[in-house]
Symmetry: D2
Subunit: 453 residues, 4 copies
């Protein structure tokens, strides 16, 4: 039985978790809430999950640690100095070791991103000495380092701690492979590489934050960073101290016919359309919010009230089931059912539908020259994207902030919403429509099309 | 090991095939081209497929009999009097018996639908005497009987033969369960029940064609029927006499990026958009024909040249792989690849896209009163549907005939295309657009919405 | 959307359950405890499970009705006159109707097997009048009728009731297809056909019990029948009145290494070897009971104390997971883990193992002539099998009764255990070994080999 | 779309292949013959396989490169100086580069194991300069280096070349992750680590062969190594120059009943029992060779004539299908069918069976003291294992050589066969039995049990 180390990637959140083991024993690092994947990996290796280790308290997703412990009897280990007591975990500290066959996992306290952040060096007893690899949590990513904006009062202090933690990681040696908790696309960093394999050595040479060798300079750089913090983060932190519950099962998702969906909507459920932006543009249920499957984990936490029930409009029930899992990963459990019969059947049953016009680069470039009194280009990307390149005359409101900033917009104007490709723009457009903006269209292709026009 | 009898349903074609067996042996009745499903069933029963029986030469799909025989060594059995020699099959005749453990399959010649049509009575040696069930092929359906329009010169003769064949089936007794080759939705009959389980007894009481007890009256009723015959039927007949080849594997389907898809289009490939009509309405590749997945087997045979290569626009590669199978079932093997990245990414790469406006019942009822000179309502349903109920002023061209009838339409007019729900209408609309009609929209919901308005 | 009717077969218990539906609604008849299969079928049909119907209180398995109701919100319907209140169900009575689209399910009270037994006739509103089919529960099987030995005090009365119920079913007409709750191999009947499809008409002609047209004669025939009643039946009845709990998930089954398995054994867990009899014969854990996967549902209820925990020896974890489901279906939930590393690795870790010699027909025929003082042939089949044909000099103890009858056996003798093939014999042999019988072997091939020698 | 790099591990052969890609393009390194896994990975990443690279001509398995090229249109690249022309490949040389999005794969000629061996450095255009990783083929493993015994005439020369090649790899820098073509358990090296992740840095520090910094000393060490070379290696080399054919599909594997299996045996098929050694010990088909599933790729090449057909005895058809794939990976395509009904049913049909007695450490230690004239302990492990530790008085013949060395054994003696655990011993015992040795048993647990006794 070989030593094994497998990656479990959660797209959307760009979350990485890991299963490592030897000799019939396995440890899971930073499990997500839908834990069957870890059980499957352990089973295929003939191993028993004996340890679950959290590199830090998660703010962006529901931790699967308590569920995994309940299912397997594994011990949950968590770093020291957590903001709140982690009810389901034991505390581990610097130099604590966990043995799995001939593997030794050694705890390194690496605070900065959070006070309780740890890294976990991997040693092989057959070749004792240097670490083979290291789980770096949210301390060190490939191409970036952890964000340090979660303690606004202690901003300098925690940035400095991260600097020290990174030095501790560098001291492991160039040969150590790094296994971080996030990859490209995560909100937990902004400069992460597209590449998901690297070593301390490669990062030492190429990670731009590791090129800053002066502590003060590093702190300054961190303080200059700007990160979005969706409102659900606070809820996740509390929930992950208490320990979340098992994910509702997609198998039980109720198929809804048009009448039932409308009845639920009228009872106060949010109607969420998880189909592609072009499907939504073509035809959608009146009042539905566009939130394509791939954007759920990134934007539900900004746009949706966790206490309201959701009903979905989906291409099919499998897609709706996937959405239920995505919602569940960030703590939205109240998915009541899904309509997936298509908008042709929807309309054929006598139900009303709505459309959103799409415009292209030609249309936009024509209007850009027109009067600003009647028409407004609205860019909903992140500020850093907007700052890098934007269309003249466009106003910027980040999609996550749009709901709170509607009053700043003139309802008498027509709006063309844009983003990078049109996906987020459609979410923004649907939000405007739900709030009574009548003349809204979307620039399909958005900045991509604009640049390539 | 119990005797088993399992149904394999092929949606779209509404084709039913069957696996029956006992004591480690199995027979497959009327296999389709993608045969793994039969092998799976046999494996799960621990049985070896020893016989493949065709109830008639298939005109609407590629027979899987030769592939199944090649893979398993099974004998292929086919009725007598085929129009062409069936190269891969042995001929069976009235009263021939096939034994599978304690099951006996007994051949009944039941011509009419085709000259070579047979039915297969199922007897259980443990209870000899009356048939337990009967595979009725295209002779007797649940709620209907087989069409008899394939020999225009001998229309009366073959309708009379079918009458006699049905009497032979009725003579099996009320207790016999029937297992036909098609269910509701097939083009091989028009009055088939939504229900897929019945007996000779229940059909004797309720099948309207079986209520006609006079031979001449029956012949007259059959001659009065109107059936569409897509052009690919002739090709299928020839191919199924020779024996088709194995289905191309969906696994090898090439993902295309936008540039490659466009290059293929410019080299002469047909671009087929298999997504939902609302997705196509929202945004689609210029020049693409709308043909939603569920309509492929019904309309590709009308609309596409089997000698041209196809490239697909799909929601994802799984859907494209499914489409490849659907195309393959009716002998369209030249699917070269698929773009499935979404229209937002498509446009973001700087590529042009097109949309089709959707209108609703309110829009249509407003226009119905307007001048006919500028605007035409075009109904593409089957004639029998149109005859049952239609919107005043609509002109009717069956979707299968539309390509040949474009010259009868006034290109200066605007067109609103409709069908039952909007699915087929979108196919028709895309056909008009590809042929230079500029002002085309689709009535989403179509007759369903009109009736429920 | 066609009307659908799908069979779910549970091997071992030979239990049949059914999903029937139309127009987005589905009903499940007699669900088992592992209910995902019903949810999958409903999903694939795009239907919502709105009704769960029990044809009678189950005595041989845990009903899945309450779990399915909890997951889907469906109503549970149960016949009148149950021995105990069915807590999770509403009572339905003669002629009550349930509508699912154009399908109508009509209740027929058919007591006899139990007082609360109902049958459910299937009508199609498109062809009103005669039933298309009927769910017959444990009243009428294919080739047999329900057992009536559950009320020993009222034996004649309930046999007579069954006679009347069967007449009610016959009155539905020959055309009605029958869908019973059990197939061949079930302990709920003994003459069931290997065939799983039939009609009222075919049964009227061929079911031997339906050939008895005199009520008194029928009652007499029923009173003459002999049925085994495993002790867990009583527990199932109580549990199914209360409503059982969800099945433990096979995913969480703990892999055990040899040391842990032995530790559990020493703590009092039963070690159950679910591998083939030849694997057990070759090498097994000392003290393990042989209970091959396929025999669990038939014999665990006889041999195992539901209050003791179990640890399994399996070929692999998938097989152990299957066993967990089989145990769960009959209410044995305490499966603590499984060893699946093979006996070579087991022994290589320094652990002891045991073997059981296998003998063949030659060996047995040689010994049959030998002195009876030293050697005893022990046949553990059902009495009806033994009565039909047996080896001279063999003594008979039914496997289910063996544990209680050990004292009747002379421990100084050598024993050769036999059954039909050697499967049940190995279970019996392992039971003898666990109880201190030293010289036990098994006749592999058993009566099959004897007959074919 | 992140850059991806996924491992595909083939147990048994301990073969590692890799899929690496970026921006819709993927390359596969050293594909095995069953290629669907690569297509699945590419599909899940939305990428098109454009390149297949072989690090050397494979001698231990059938290369999947030509099949993958045929299915995808990918180019196949192979190093220079192959012994025979590789018909399906283009030659690449030092410093050639392949671009996949922002990834650059750079060829390093690293001969030694074979003349055509290459390694492939992975560079990320976003961080140009140092390699992120390197595919090392059979040049450098984790914990070992490639064997250099394939050119006996040029033994020193090629060992020296490997030394130089390893230096070239070390020059890539400590930060480079290594991705070799084999892991622990492969016959292509003997000291490989159980761990499957490492870097140039870690190997530089811990790989014992890399500690030898003197070229002559390294050559000497390589010349001292002893490797087994199964006879099928020569066939693989030729076949992999020509290009093998597609793997037969497990789906079509014919289930055999006992009679058919025996008929095939009598026609000259080899009967191969792929079940566990304890199942074989319990009962097996007379004349069957024991070759448990997990040993097929390691020993079929020694024991089986590739021109003879095989029939299998398996636990179930899935296991037989797996075996078909294992056989196919090393070029044994003639698997004609499988019996999987169990030995109880086998014997119950009146067929003879055989058993192999198992003995334990107690039995063996008792006999060790006994006379050597009647009984012989036979150890079939590799010589290096035997040399490390053995039981006094045991004679050693490597399992791969046993068939050729039967004449050296005294047929009048009894034999107890042993290995590490009993698996290989059972293969050896079955070989003896097939060759007329009457008194053969197996030490279950073998050296493991002996050491732990």
């Amino acid at each position: 039985m070989a030593m094994f180390l497998e990656k479990v990637k959660t797209p959307g959140l760009a979350h990485l978790s890991w299963v490592i083991g030897d000799a019939d024993q396995a440890a899971v690092i930073d499990p997500r809430r839908d834990i069957d994947v870890y059980l499957e990996i352990a089973k295929s290796q003939g191993a028993r999950i004996t340890h679950v280790i959290e590199t830090h308290r998660n703010e962006d997703l529901v931790s699967g640690a308590p569920m995994l412990a309940e299912r397997t009897g594994a011990r949950v280990l968590h770093g020291p100095n957590a903001d709140q007591e982690i009810r389901y975990a034991e505390t581990v500290r610097e130099s604590d070791c966990i043995e799995l066959g001939n593997l030794v996992l050694k705890i390194l306290e690496t605070p900065g991103h959070t006070d309780d952040s740890i890294s976990i060096a991997i040693h092989d007893e057959n070749n004792p000495g240097d670490a083979v690899g290291v789980f770096t949590g949210d301390a060190l990513f490939i191409g970036d380092v952890g964000r340090t904006d979660f303690y606004p009062d202690r901003a300098e202090e925690v940035a400095g701690k991260l600097f020290d933690s990174l030095n501790k990681l560098l001291a492991l040696g160039d040969q150590a492979i790094i296994y971080p908790a996030h990859g490209a696309g995560s909100v937990c960093g902004s400069g992460m590489a597209e590449r998901e394999f690297s070593t301390i050595g490669h990062e030492r040479l190429h990670n731009s934050m590791l090129q800053i060798r002066d502590r003060e300079e590093f702190i300054e750089a961190k303080l200059d960073e700007m990160h979005y913090q969706p409102p659900y983060f606070r809820r996740m932190e509390r929930l992950n101290a208490e320990g979340g519950s098992r994910l509702p099962t997609p198998m039980g998702l109720t198929p809804l016919d048009p009448e039932t969906l409308l009845a639920r909507r009228d009872e106060g459920c949010d109607v969420i359309d998880i189909r592609s932006p072009e499907s939504y543009a073509g035809a959608h249920v009146e009042g539905a919010l566009s939130l394509p499957l791939g954007l759920i984990t990134a934007y539900a936490g900004w746009l949706l009230d966790p206490d309201r029930s959701l009903v979905l409009v989906a291409d099919d029930l499998d897609q709706a089931g996937e959405a239920l899992v995505h919602f569940g990963r960030i703590g939205y459990d109240r998915v009541e059912g899904a309509y997936s019969g298509g908008m042709a059947a929807w309309a054929a049953s006598g139900n009303a539908f709505d459309s959103v016009p799409l415009v292209d680069a030609g249309d936009v470039s024509q209007r850009v020259g027109e009067s600003k009194d009647l028409w407004q280009l609205l860019d909903v990307r992140k500020k850093e994207e907007f700052d890098r390149t934007a269309i003249e005359g466009a106003c910027h409101i980040y999609l996550g902030h749009l709901a709170d900033r509607l009053d700043s917009l003139d309802r008498d104007k027509a709006f063309t919403v844009l983003c990078g490709s049109g996906m987020r723009a459609m979410v923004g457009a649907s939000l405007l429509r739900r709030n009574g903006f009548d003349r809204v269209d979307v620039f399909l292709g958005s900045m991509g099309a604009w640049t390539n026009r």
